[in-house]
C-alpha cells in the first residue's frame, strides 16, 4: 500500500503541484505586474497606493500612456535610439567577426587550431566587468571616449558567440564543404553559401547573445561616455532615477521599455527559428 502522505507519481496532473507552481509563478510575476501597472498611471497614484496593499495597488484607476510619452519625448527617448544604434552595429560587426572565427576554428585545419581555440575560451572566462575599468582607461588614451565606436567595440569580441557558432558548424557534415571545394569554391564562398544558410538558429542565437549583452550594458557606457546626449538607455534611466525620485511613473515606464525590447527579440526569434536555446548575456 503506497503511503498517502508522499506525493506519489500518477498519470493525472497533480493538483497540489499545480497549486505550488501557481504560487511560485505569482511570486515572480507580481512585482513585474506592479511595474507594468505603475508605468500606466501617474506617479502620485503609485505613491498613494503603496501602502496598505489593496487591489488598487496593482490596478490603475485609469490606464494612460502619459508616462511613456513624457519619458520618450525627453532625453531618455534619445538614449533609446542610441542604445538601438549601438546594439545593431555591434550585432552586425560581431556576427561577422564571430562567424569568420568560428568557421576557421571548426572547419579549417591548421596547426595550432587547438591553441587558438583555448585562447578564445580562456578569454571569455574573465567577465567583462573585471577589465572594464582598465579598458576604459586604454580607450581614453586611444581617444575613443564619448564615441559610438567606443560603445560598440567591446561587444564585438564575444567568445561565447564564437563558441556557439563553432559548435554548430562542427555538426554540419564535411561532405558539403568537400563538394563545394571540389567545384572550385574558395573558403569565403563555402562559408557564405554552405555554412551560413544552414546556420540559421545558431546565428540567431549568437545575434541574440551579442544584442542582449550590449542592450543591458551599464558599467561600460558609464565609464566611457560622459556626454549625456550620447548615453545609452540603462544609464540614462538610472540617472533620472537618482534625480527625480518623485516621478516613479516615468522610471517604471523606462524599466518596461528596457525590458520589452529583449523580450520581443526573444519572442520573434523563437517564432522564426524555433527551439531557441536562450543563451546567456551580460547581466
Amino acid at each position: 500500500m503506497t503511503a498517502v502522505r508522499r506525493r506519489t507519481r500518477s498519470e493525472r496532473r497533480s493538483i497540489l503541484l499545480t497549486a505550488l507552481a501557481v504560487v511560485v509563478a505569482a511570486l515572480f510575476i507580481l512585482p513585474a505586474l506592479w511595474l507594468l501597472s505603475g508605468s500606466l498611471r501617474p506617479s502620485n497614484e503609485i505613491f498613494g497606493t503603496l501602502s496598505p496593499v489593496t487591489w488598487r495597488t496593482l490596478v490603475p484607476s485609469e490606464v494612460s500612456l502619459g508616462n511613456y510619452l513624457a519619458l520618450l519625448s525627453g532625453p531618455f527617448g534619445r538614449s533609446i535610439l542610441i542604445s538601438f544604434a549601438v546594439c545593431f552595429l555591434t550585432v552586425a560587426i560581431g556576427l561577422v567577426v564571430s562567424a569568420l572565427a568560428a568557421y576557421a576554428l571548426s572547419v579549417l585545419r591548421f596547426r595550432g587550431r587547438g591553441a587558438v581555440f583555448a585562447f578564445v575560451v580562456i578569454s571569455f572566462m574573465v567577465p567583462f566587468e573585471a577589465i572594464a575599468i582598465p579598458l576604459s582607461q586604454l580607450f581614453s588614451g586611444w581617444g575613443l571616449t564619448n564615441t559610438l565606436l567606443g560603445l560598440v567595440l567591446p561587444g564585438i569580441g564575444n567568445g561565447l558567440a564564437i563558441f556557439n557558432l563553432r559548435q554548430h558548424f562542427l555538426s554540419i557534415p564535411t561532405s558539403y564543404r568537400e563538394a563545394a571545394t571540389v567545384d572550385g569554391a574558395a573558403e569565403p564562398r563555402v562559408l557564405w553559401s554552405v555554412y551560413l544558410p544552414l546556420g540559421g538558429a545558431a546565428l540567431a542565437n549568437s545575434a541574440l547573445l551579442i544584442f542582449l549583452g550590449q542592450w543591458s550594458a551599464y558599467l561600460w557606457p558609464l565609464l566611457v561616455v560622459s556626454d549625456s546626449s550620447l548615453q545609452v538607455a540603462p544609464v540614462a534611466l538610472a540617472r533620472t532615477f537618482g534625480e527625480y525620485t518623485f516621478d516613479f511613473g516615468q522610471n517604471f515606464a523606462g524599466a518596461i521599455v528596457l525590458s520589452v525590447v529583449p523580450a520581443l527579440m526573444m519572442f520573434v526569434l523563437q517564432r522564426f527559428f524555433g527551439g531557441l536555446e536562450i543563451a546567456s548575456g551580460e547581466k
Binding site: G114, A115, V116, L138, G141, S226, S228
Partner: protein
Amino acid sequence: MNRRHVLAAASGIAALALVGACSSGGSGDSGDSGDADWSIPDTDPTATIQVLGHQDADGIQEVIDAFNEDHPTITVEYESVPFDQLNSVLDARIGNQDGNPDVFWADQPRIPALAARGYMTDITDQFAADTGVWDPAPLASGQYDGRMWAVPIANSTQLLYYNVELVEAAGDPLPSAAIEDRMTWEEVTERAANAVEAGATNGLLFGQVNRYYQLQPLPMSLGGSAGGTGDDLLTPDVTSEPWVQAMEWYGELFAEGLSPLGVTPEQSDAEFLTGNTAYMVQGPWLLPKLTDAEFEWGVAPHPYFEGGEVVTPTGSWSLAMSAFSDEREAAAIFMRWMSVEHGGGYAANYASPELPASPEGKEQYFQRDVFDSDAGQLAAEIIDFETSNTAVPRLQTVGFVEFEEIIGRAFSDVANGADPAAALESASSELETAWAQYR
C-alpha cells in the same frame, strides 16, 4: 584542448603583454604649472578657449555675451556637465593632458587637492595685483602652498527660512531677522516639533542634506574642529566630543520625524516650495524661487548651538586654468573678467543671483530685484553680516576629495539611524587610510 594548446595560447598572451605594457604605465609630460614667463597682455589676443562648468549653458550664455562686449576677440566655448559628474569628467579631461578645457569651474575646498595633483596652472604672478579685490575667505580658498591657483567667482552663505503660516499654526512667534536675536538650534528643534504636531509635514529641512558643506557648522559651533588637524590638516578629527554630540542631534532630527528621509539636495527647494515645511536652512539662491511662493515666508539668521560659536557655511566656485591650457593669455583674461572686472563679471551678469566674492560685487548684488521685498531686505542684511563675520571655510587639505566623500557617507548613515559615535569612528579610520598616501 590539451596542455600543449594551453601553453601555446599562454605564449600568445605573453606576446600581447608587450602591447599592453606599452600602452599603460607610461605618462605624458605633466605640463609645467609654475612659470612666470607669461602675463596678461594689454591687448586681447584672438583666441578660442574651452570652459567646463556645471551651470546651465543658457544661463552662462548671457554671461559670455556680456564678456564678448568687453573682449570681442576671444571666443568662449562653454560645456555644461551635471554637478555630480563634474569631478569625474574633470579628472578624465585633465588626464588627457590636452588643451580642453582651458578653464574649469573648481569647487573652492577642492582647490588644494586639485593643485597638488597638478591639474592647475600657477597664476600667482599674473593675478598678484588683484588680490585686494576679494573678500578674505574666498581669496584664501584659492591659495595653496604659498601660491595662487584659482580666482573666486562666487561666495555663499546660509539663512534660516520659515513658512509663516506653519509657524503661526504651531503657536510660535515669528522669528526675528535681527542678528542679535539669532536663535539656537535647541530653540529651532522645539519650534520644529511644535510645527509637526500642528500638522506640518516637515519641521526642519536642510538644503544640502547630508553634505559637509551644510553640516560643518554643527560640530564647529560646539567647539569642534573642521574635521582635520595636524600638519597639512591630514589627521582626522571627527571623533571628538563636539562631533559626536552634533551628530547625535542631527540623527535625532530624523528619528523624531522632524526632518524627512529621502529628500535629496536637488529636491529640497521644491520640497520647501510645496509649503509643507516649517523651517529650512538654505542659501540665498532660494530667494528668487520664493517670489513665486504661494505662502508667506520670512528669513532669520543661521542658528547656533547654545553657549557655542556662531559659525556659518561659506564658499562656492572659483575658476582655475588647466595646467595644459594652450591659450593661457586668453584664459587669464576671461578669468579676470569673470572674477574681478565690474565687481566680478560672472556674478554681475548671471541672471540667477550669485553672491559675489568681492565687496564691490556685493554692493551691486544687493541692488537686485529679489531683495526688493521687506523679507528680501532683511535677507540682504543677514547675508552681508554673515559673509563678513561668521563664515568659516571648509577644511583646506590636500585630502579634501576623500574627506568630503567619506564624511558625507557617515552623515547619510547617521540620518538613516546609525549610531553616531560608531559612524564617525568608522569614517575616521577610513580617513586614516585614505590620507596615508598624502603624509
